[in-house]
Subunit: 646 residues, 2 copies
Amino acid sequence: MHNMEKELLSELHNRGKIARAAILTMTTLAGCGHPGGSMSSIDVLNVLYSYIKHDPKNPNWDERDRVIVSNGHISPGVYSALGLLGYFELDTAIAQYRKLGSIFEGHIERFVPGVEWTTGNLGQGLSAGCGMALASRIKHIPYQVYVLMGDGEQQKGMISEARRFAVKYKLNNLVAIIDYNRLQINGVISKVMPQNIRHNWESDGWKVLEVNGHDLSMIHSALCETANSEVPILILAHTVMGKGVPFMENLEKYHGSTLSEAQLDEALKHLEVPNIIDEYKKMRDDFIYLPKTDKPNEFSLKPDFDPGAAFIYDKETDNRSAWGNAIGDLAKLNKDVKMPLAMVDCDLMVSVKTGEFASLCPDRFFQSGIMENNAAVLSGALSTCGIQTFWADFGVFGTAEVYNNQRLNDINHTNLKVVVTHVGIDVGEDGRTHQCIDYIGLMRNLYGFRVIVPADPNQTDRAIRWLVNQPGNYLVAMGRSKIPLIYKEGKNLYYGADYCFEYGKIDTLREGKDACVVVCGTPVGRAIKAIEKLQQEGFFVHLAYVSCPLGMRENDLSQILKHDLIFSVEDHNVNSGLGTILADKMVEHSCHSRLVKIGIQNYPISGTSEDLYRISKMDTNSLYERFKQEILAKELVRANGKKEKN
Amino acid sequence: MHNMEKELLSELHNRGKIARAAILTMTTLAGCGHPGGSMSSIDVLNVLYSYIKHDPKNPNWDERDRVIVSNGHISPGVYSALGLLGYFELDTAIAQYRKLGSIFEGHIERFVPGVEWTTGNLGQGLSAGCGMALASRIKHIPYQVYVLMGDGEQQKGMISEARRFAVKYKLNNLVAIIDYNRLQINGVISKVMPQNIRHNWESDGWKVLEVNGHDLSMIHSALCETANSEVPILILAHTVMGKGVPFMENLEKYHGSTLSEAQLDEALKHLEVPNIIDEYKKMRDDFIYLPKTDKPNEFSLKPDFDPGAAFIYDKETDNRSAWGNAIGDLAKLNKDVKMPLAMVDCDLMVSVKTGEFASLCPDRFFQSGIMENNAAVLSGALSTCGIQTFWADFGVFGTAEVYNNQRLNDINHTNLKVVVTHVGIDVGEDGRTHQCIDYIGLMRNLYGFRVIVPADPNQTDRAIRWLVNQPGNYLVAMGRSKIPLIYKEGKNLYYGADYCFEYGKIDTLREGKDACVVVCGTPVGRAIKAIEKLQQEGFFVHLAYVSCPLGMRENDLSQILKHDLIFSVEDHNVNSGLGTILADKMVEHSCHSRLVKIGIQNYPISGTSEDLYRISKMDTNSLYERFKQEILAKELVRANGKKEKN
């Protein structure tokens, strides 16, 4: 079993030459790309794909083994290996590599058949591998996950997080492979950043096998050895940058430099592969960019959970508890459905209220410890495997700490539900490092992420029950404190039994014509009180609650923009949240009203939530005074205008 | 030398009791905070401060040893240790802990005397320690740096980056100490996230000493052993959560729970310290929050470099090269000045043009490899040590990848100059993972960071020469491609010999009344061409260049807002950059003009920079067409309006 058949060996030897020719041709043709690492890793790739369980004609086969290539810049190697196996026409990949509109982009993208995970930013692949390896266990579909990595990227700290996670969860269906060519952009890795890679991995409990990464039989034997291991295994494959073309070997410049056409010719002669670059040039010219039409996202989840019955809160509580209760209820109701629910936590179970889920579904609750970068990526990857995945954390850890991981998730079309608690100065005494006041500003940069900020526990309950059946990426944000329930003027619950959450809907909590207050988040209760106080004085203020600051419905928005005096109120950086989004919309809609933005003006300090709202002028009284002052000023202007006219 | 004097031992023993009483009193008084870890680490803190070279009366003494506490939540322990030494009145800290307006915040803040670095987000302290240890070497001021960490935070990957950096640079003046109490929020660390901390550190080349963290002599001996070590040393201090009060010991709930007053009383009896909580309550009540007045930032650098003479580019080049040349020139000119310049790089020397600096100042050039999180924090820390610190990287790595590190830098009032290249779709074929189109959107969340996006190589040169003499945090962003030089209409260079960079100034590149185009970044050359084409057709468009999108001068801005048709053009996410800032300003200034936002509408793809500009409608022709279409539409409306009036 451990010995490769001669025929396969010869086939792979041959494939190595053709793949190398392809790598060099496509990079020369494109005039850019990364040939060096592609050539050092191509033998590993070829042997790996000959070893694993997969079907190039059915790249989405549920039982396939997964290959994640963490160092996405070796795309020429990946495209060559996959093309040779029939995932697509290799000639197409060669001709179109890096050309506008081609799927064969500079870094590997998930929409290329055979590519499981879009990469490019280094260090994230092993965490994605953890997610996919967990998915195999959760869904009882046995498959292996192989994560190919570069050696330079071993410097990234988050790889150690993924290593620890894999060992904790005994992910013995996970195999890591490092293309150990010992060169990175600026030279020998031992000079750029000395590192004992083997010791690093062993120190986290991985078993390490070392192989000659150009000895096909040896690679094959190592892969065989990984089967039935108790612990996850790393194969450290000693390789040569630019391997296969003598004048390229061991030169770091070929990390990111391509051959001239004359050099290519020389290289192909050495590889004994005919040079048909002129044909590829023609094919390349013939490929014309077509803008993508809006087709449904092929990576979307199609969940069909029982959302259960609304839980009606009639006593004040915190949104966190409502979220915890709702997800617990959903877990109970959907125990036996086909699509699993999963939850990831980062050592904050009690605070983020994941305890009930954890005790109900211990096999689908994953404790990632204080390793947020790993948690973000593994959750994202899990959510691509037909698993509705929630990750609960504090605001600052679920967004700011992992922004680039979330960006890569979004690029990967994940279906991640990030539920963050402890946003805003509402966090209180923990101070500015823990007060997340930029979550809207951060998510606004990500084209796919949607944001939900529920107003009270009842809306939280309904939003979560709605969310469980959504594909795509969402951030649900909530504060820390207990917040008052929202009532209609008639003292019925606003988000009562008849309420259904609708993404983008703006909720009219109070009607009035003197001004419009638009609130997002925890200050809503204070705003209501301020408005009720004004009402007693004969001022009628419209109150709109925005639970979806990035997706406000145009119709609802136009109702707001009719008012000539608009306030935005948010427990968020005033420069980057609701207020600035409203300003944008006002300009877009030629709304010439006055906008008064109320929010956080600078890094906050320690103090009780109540104290912090007060000094941020978002306590009931400050809001009342500010609203009144602006309404009076407006009326004064109007009165003066009338006087002048008369 | 290794044996503590009896007198000191007895003093420290006593100090341990008083400190523990202080920890418990302040947390009970505040009703929140983290007593457990404070008590497990207090013996280490007390011995450490008795051992190091420092002067509580002169906390900024240049030659002091530095203590960084990475797990900033043990603030009660830190305040107690420092208060007992006379950095401030311990009673004040006890009484004011976590109260609004007090410097004794929930997590330690740098403005508390004796606190070197604000922490709270875990895992960052060792990188800050690396920065401060390097500063000792650069400035030839011998001191030691001690970094105290929690055991839970060892899970954070970026600590491994800092370990490698320390070993590479042989930072033998750096000592790490771990408070190994084996408990984190959710329980025993070996269950939450199993980890062999000793092996992890050894695998990166650190020497590890293990001590009983409550044996004062043993801690002292270990500290003595760290002197004159060849390699950096970790002291793994085995401790007990809640140590000193039997009913608190080894219970994870005391990570973040405080004692009731009755429990406090019992605990203080055990510690043989009188309970005077009522006096502290009175002091606490007496402390009244006063809003901070705008005083100069005490942490600011006061640089006085020779900015040299402007280098005038008369041939097209890339801004990257202009930056590299300028910083090289500045390095040459300022070889012998008192304040050093330093540069940090992440394996991208050739691309980000730090090579000249590196060869001129090899002892002040630091190669952090592919470890951006470490680079961000160590650069920030370096910049607090009287060193003007530049960190050069690709846009996506200097901002998105390290957003929370930059946030903590900003909170720390660092003086960091982040110079990022390869922003925008201008990056080209490397694709969306590498195209940084959110740098303005990200930085807009950080109150202290300023952003500079130079228009051409000449402005780059002048901006860098200006920047070298600035305190505070800046991001300088530039694309990858060669970009045309900007000329005045008379064919003189716009940013010529007489030009001086001024932060916030908006540059009028062309004057006109038919519309105003506002550009930030690389598209400026294309915008000029589009406008010149329109000029030939009799349309005169005003062209304003915004190099400082977060700090546009109000006067300059009002010139823009006079126009009734305004375009924003940016190689940036159209939802979060210049366009949205302009919209905000328009609303603020009651400007009712039409704003047309041109920018990136979705995640980009691979392709040449030229191709990507074309499909993003930011090539010369698309801009020309869009400008013209909008101007004609405006004129039509005006003509119809006139007709109606007539």
